[in-house]
C-alpha cells in the first residue's frame, strides 16, 4: 500500500480533478493519494469526484492561506 502526493496549488478548479483522474490510473486498490489545492471549490470538487467514482475520502486538512490537504484512498 503506497502513498503519493499530488500538488495542484495554483490550479483553478476543475483542473485538480482532471489531474487526479489521470493520477488515478497508476494507483492500486488500497493506495492513498494526498492532494494539495487552494482553489475555493477544491474540497467540494474532490468530495463530488470521490462520491461519483466510489473512492474513500479519508481526511480534509485546512492549511494556512486557504490551502487544503485532502487524502483519498483507492
Amino acid at each position: 500500500m503506497a502513498m503519493e502526493v499530488l500538488n495542484t496549488l495554483g490550479l483553478k478548479c476543475p483542473q485538480p480533478v482532471l489531474k487526479i483522474a489521470v493520477k488515478a490510473t497508476s494507483m492500486k486498490p488500497g493506495d492513498i493519494l494526498e492532494v494539495l489545492g487552494d482553489c475555493p471549490t477544491f474540497e467540494k470538487d474532490i468530495r463530488v469526484w470521490c462520491q461519483r467514482l466510489k473512492k474513500v475520502l479519508l481526511s480534509v486538512t485546512d492549511d494556512a492561506g486557504g490551502q487544503k490537504r485532502i487524502q483519498i484512498q483507492f
Binding site: K12, C13, P14, Q15, V17, L18, I20, A21, V22, A24, T25, C39, P40, T41, D45, V48, W49, R52, L53
Partner: protein, 719 residues
C-alpha cells in the same frame, strides 16, 4: 411699475409675436429673459445683459429706477444661482460617495470572481444608476461565470469518470460503467454512448474469452488425447516421411521423435506389408479420404515385429493432398487375450464334453459294479466265474476312478466345502509329502502366519497339492527344490484383465508351488490343463492330473496360473477366495458299523432304470421295502396313495424336469418325518446351487458299492 416711454417692439417695428414683450405696454424688455430681439432669442437675463448694454433702445429708455430694478433682478438671480450651486455641491458629494462605495463593492466582487469563486453576489441598489447598473452587470457576470464554471465542473467530473471507466475496462474490468445523472444533454448522450460501446466491447470480449477458453480447452483436450492416448498418432508427408508423432507412437516403436523424423512409414513396417499398404492407400485413402481399420504389422527399433490396427486419413490443403495421418494401435495384448479367451473357451467346451461323457459313464459303471457285486454274492470264491466277475468289477472301479477325475476337471463333482486353514492342512500333509518327493528333493514350506481362511473341500485341496507335487517331482529326476508358499493377496480388476479373465476382484489366499525342474515349453503351456494332455512317457501318467487340479480350483471359485522358464523351473500360483467363517471343528460323523440290514420303507426315485433296478435289488435283498419310480411327480403321487409310513426318500439329485432337493422339499411338507438321502454322479449347472452341499448332507456318490449304499441308508435312517 411706471409706464415705459417707448416700447421696443414698436420702435423696431418688431414682428416677433413669440417674444414675451411683443404687444405688451409696460414690460421692460431688459428685465425679461427669453426675448427675441431682431430674430435672435436671448436666453437668461444674465446672458442678455451684454446685448442689452449695447442696445439703443436700452440706452435711450433705461432710467435709474429701471436700472435698480434690473440690479435687483440680477441680484435675485445671483442668489438663486448660488443656492443652486450649493445644492449641486451637496449632490455631487453624495454622488461621489455612492460611486466610491459601489465601485469598491464591484471591485471586491470582481476580485473574488477572478480568484475562482463565481458564487459572489453584491446588493444591486444604488442611487447612482450607473453604479447600480455596474453592480447588476457584475452580478450577472458572476452568474454567467458560475454557470460556465458549473458546466466546466460537470464536464470535468464526467470526463474524469469516463476516463476512470475506460481505464478500468482497459484493465479488464468489463463490469465498469459510467454512472451519474448529468444535467447536460451532451454528457448524458456521451454516457449512453460510452456504456453502449462498453456493452458491445464487453460482449465481444466475453464471447472472445469464451471462444478462447473453449479453444484452450479444446487444445488441452486434444493434447491430452494426443499425448495421453494409448493409440499412436503419426503424420507423414506425401513422400511418406514422418513429420509428427505422439509419445505413444514413439514408445510403441522404440524410437524418439528425432529418430522418427528421419524415417518413412515403410521403414516402420516389414517389407511384406508394403504392397498391402500401398493398395489400401490407392483404393481407399486417396479415393475417399480415409481407410477402413485394417490390421498389419509394425517393426520396432530393435527389429521385433508386433501386430497393429491402423486407420489412415488423407490430409488435404486447398483441395490438394498434403500428406496423411494415422491412428495406430498396438494389438499385441488384445491378440494375446483373444488367444487366452479362446483357450478358456476351449477348456470350457472340453469340460462340458468330458462332464457329459463321465456322467453317462457313471450310470453305466454303477450298473456294472453293482451287478458284479450281486453276481459275486451268488457265487462262491471257488467258482471259476467268481474271479472273472471280480475282474469285471475291478475294471469297472478303475473306470469309475477315471470318471471321477474327468468329473473333477469338468467341475461337476460334488465338493464338500468347509472353512479351513490352508496352512494347517499343508502342515499336516508335509509328513506325507516328504517321503513322496524323495531324498534328492528339498521340500520348503514358507507359510504366511497371518494367512486368511478359505472355503474349500479339504480332500480336493489335498488332491491339488499332491498332483502338483508329483508333477514337480517328476520334473526333477536329478533332484532339486520344491517350495510351497502361502500368502494373502488383493487382486484387482487389472490383474484379471491382464490374464484375460472376467474380473472378480477381492481378497484371495495364494498357494504357490514352485520347482527347480526342467520347466514347460512355451508352445505347450497353453495345453497343460487339457484332459489327457501329458508329456510323460506312456503309462506314467493319465494326463488328468493338471486338468483335475484346474477343475477343482475353478469349481472352488479360484484361479490358477502357470509360470515357467524352460530349464529353470515352474511355478503354479493358485488363488482361492478368502472366507470369513469360523473353522469347522473337523468332527466327523462316526460311522456305526452295526448291521446294515433294515425293514423300513424306502421311496426310491431314480430316472436311470439300470441304477434304479440295482438299488432296488440291493435294498430289497437287505430287508427294506422299496417303493420305486423314475419320475418326481410320480413320487409325490406314491406318497399320497401309500398310507403306511415311508421312512426314507432315496433320490437322484438330477431328475427329468425337476431335481431331488425340490421333490424332497415337496414330500417333506406332506410327510415331515421322512428322511432324505440323495444320490448323484455330479452336480450339473441346472442345479448349481446344490453344487456344494452342506457337509452334513448325506449323499451316495455314484457309482456306489452295495456296502456303500447300505451304509449310507442305515446311517441316514439311524441319524
Amino acid at each position: 411699475m411706471a409706464a415705459i416711454k417707448q416700447l421696443c417692439w414698436k420702435r423696431f417695428e418688431c414682428e416677433e409675436a413669440a417674444c414675451p414683450v411683443f404687444g405688451t405696454e409696460n414690460l421692460k424688455c431688459w428685465t425679461i429673459s427669453g426675448t427675441r430681439c431682431k430674430g435672435c432669442i436671448q436666453g437668461t437675463l444674465s446672458e442678455k445683459i451684454i446685448i442689452c448694454i449695447d442696445c439703443v433702445h436700452f440706452k435711450e429708455t433705461v432710467d435709474r429706477n429701471s436700472f435698480e430694478e434690473a440690479l435687483h433682478i440680477i441680484n435675485d438671480q445671483f442668489i438663486h444661482y448660488r443656492r443652486v450651486v450649493e445644492e449641486r455641491d451637496v449632490e455631487l458629494e453624495n454622488i461621489c460617495k455612492h460611486q466610491a462605495e459601489g465601485i469598491s463593492e464591484v471591485l471586491e466582487a470582481l476580485k473574488r470572481i477572478s480568484s475562482g469563486d463565481p458564487s459572489v453576489r453584491i446588493p444591486e441598489d444604488s442611487p447612482i444608476e450607473p453604479i447600480a447598473r455596474l453592480k447588476h452587470m457584475t452580478n450577472r457576470t458572476a452568474e454567467n461565470i458560475a454557470e460556465i464554471v458549473d458546466l466546466s465542473h460537470e464536464f470535468a467530473m464526467s470526463l474524469a469518470e469516463h476516463f476512470d471507466v475506460l481505464h478500468r475496462v482497459s484493465e479488464g474490468d468489463l463490469k465498469a460503467r459510467v454512472s451519474g445523472t448529468p444535467k447536460i444533454e451532451l454528457l448524458e448522450a456521451l454516457k449512453t454512448l460510452t456504456n453502449t460501446t462498453i456493452d458491445g466491447i464487453s460482449k465481444e470480449i466475453t464471447e472472445r474469452k469464451h471462444a478462447e477458453r473453449a479453444a484452450r480447452e479444446s487444445e488441452k483436450k486434444y493434447r491430452r488425447l494426443y499425448e495421453g492416448s494409448r493409440d499412436g498418432y503419426a503424420a507423414v508427408n506425401m513422400e511418406g516421411k514422418i513429420i509428427e508423432a505422439n509419445s505413444s507412437f514413439c514408445e510403441m516403436l522404440g524410437y524418439n521423435e528425432i529418430e522418427l523424423s528421419e524415417k518413412t512409414y515403410h521403414d516402420l513396417t516389414p517389407e511384406k506389408w508394403h504392397s498391402v499398404e500401398e493398395e489400401i492407400l490407392q483404393k481407399q485413402v486417396f479415393k475417399r479420404g480415409y481407410s477402413d481399420i485394417y490390421e498389419m504389422e509394425c517393426k520396432r527399433k530393435d527389429g521385433t515385429i508386433f501386430p497393429v490396427e491402423i486407420r489412415t486419413y488423407l490430409q488435404e490443403e486447398d483441395g490438394k493432398p498434403k500428406g496423411m495421418w494415422a491412428f495406430v494401435r498396438d494389438v499385441s495384448e488384445r491378440k494375446k487375450l483373444e488367444a487366452e479367451f479362446s483357450q478358456a473357451q476351449k477348456m470350457e467346451a472340453i469340460g462340458r464334453l468330458t462332464g457329459g461323457i463321465a456322467h453317462d459313464f457313471n450310470n453305466l459303471l454303477t450298473a456294472i459294479i453293482g451287478r458284479s457285486d450281486l453276481l459275486l454274492m451268488k457265487h462262491a470264491e471257488s467258482d471259476p466265474l467268481y474271479s472273472e466277475v471280480e475282474e469285471i468289477k475291478k475294471a469297472g472301479q478303475r473306470a469309475a476312478a477315471l470318471t471321477r477325475q474327468l468329473l473333477a476337471f469338468s467341475r461337476k463333482q460334488i465338493l464338500k466345502s468347509e472353512i479351513l486353514d490352508l496352512n494347517k492342512l499343508l502342515a499336516e500333509m508335509e509328513k506325507m509329502l516328504k517321503p513322496m518327493v524323495g531324498e534328492d528333493i528339498e521340500l520348503m514350506m514358507l507359510l504366511d502366519p497371518d494367512l486368511g481362511r478359505i472355503e474349500a473341500d479339504p480332500g480336493k485341496i489335498e488332491q491339488i497339492v499332491m498332483n502338483l507335487i508329483v508333477n514337480s517331482r517328476d520334473a526333477m529326476p536329478n533332484g532339486g527344490r520344491i517350495s510351497i508358499k502361502t500368502g494373502n493377496s488383493e487382486l484387482d480388476d487389472a490383474f484379471f484383465r491382464g490374464h484375460g479373465i472376467h474380473p472378480r476382484s477381492g481378497r484371495y489366499v495364494m498357494l504357490s508351488i514352485s520347482d527347480t525342474g526342467e520347466g514347460i515349453r512355451p508352445d505347450i503351456i497353453s495345453h497343460i490343463f487339457e484332459p489327457f494332455f501329458t508329456t510323460k512317457e506312456k503309462g506314467k501318467g493319465t494326463g488328468l492330473g493338471l486338468s483335475t487340479v484346474y477343475g477343482i480350483v475353478k469349481q472352488s471359485g479360484g484361479h490358477i496360473f502357470p509360470f515357467s522358464v524352460p530349464g529353470k523351473g515352474t511355478t503354479f500360483k493358485i488363488y482361492l477366495p478368502r472366507a470369513n467363517g469360523k473353522i469347522d471343528d473337523g468332527k466327523k460323523e462316526k460311522i456305526d458299523r452295526q448291521g446294515l440290514r433294515g425293514s423300513e420303507t424306502v421311496l426310491l426315485v431314480e430316472d436311470d432304470e439300470m441304477v434304479r433296478n440295482l438299488a432296488c435289488s440291493i435294498l430289497e435283498k437287505y430287508g427294506y421295502m422299496v417303493l420305486q419310480t423314475g419320475d418326481g411327480n410320480d413320487a409325490k403321487r406314491i406318497c399320497a396313495d401309500f398310507k403306511e409310513p415311508i421312512h426314507l426318500l432315496l433320490s437322484d439329485i438330477v431328475l427329468p424336469g425337476s431335481n431331488g432337493p425340490l421333490i424332497a422339499m415337496q414330500i417333506k411338507s406332506e410327510r415331515p418325518g421322512i428322511k432324505v438321502l440323495f444320490m448323484s454322479g455330479y452336480a450339473p449347472e441346472s442345479v448349481a446351487r446344490y453344487g456344494t452341499l452342506d457337509p452334513q448332507t448325506t449323499l451316495v456318490e455314484k457309482p456306489f458299492s452295495i456296502e456303500g449304499l447300505l451304509r449310507r441308508v442305515r446311517e441316514r435312517l439311524d441319524g
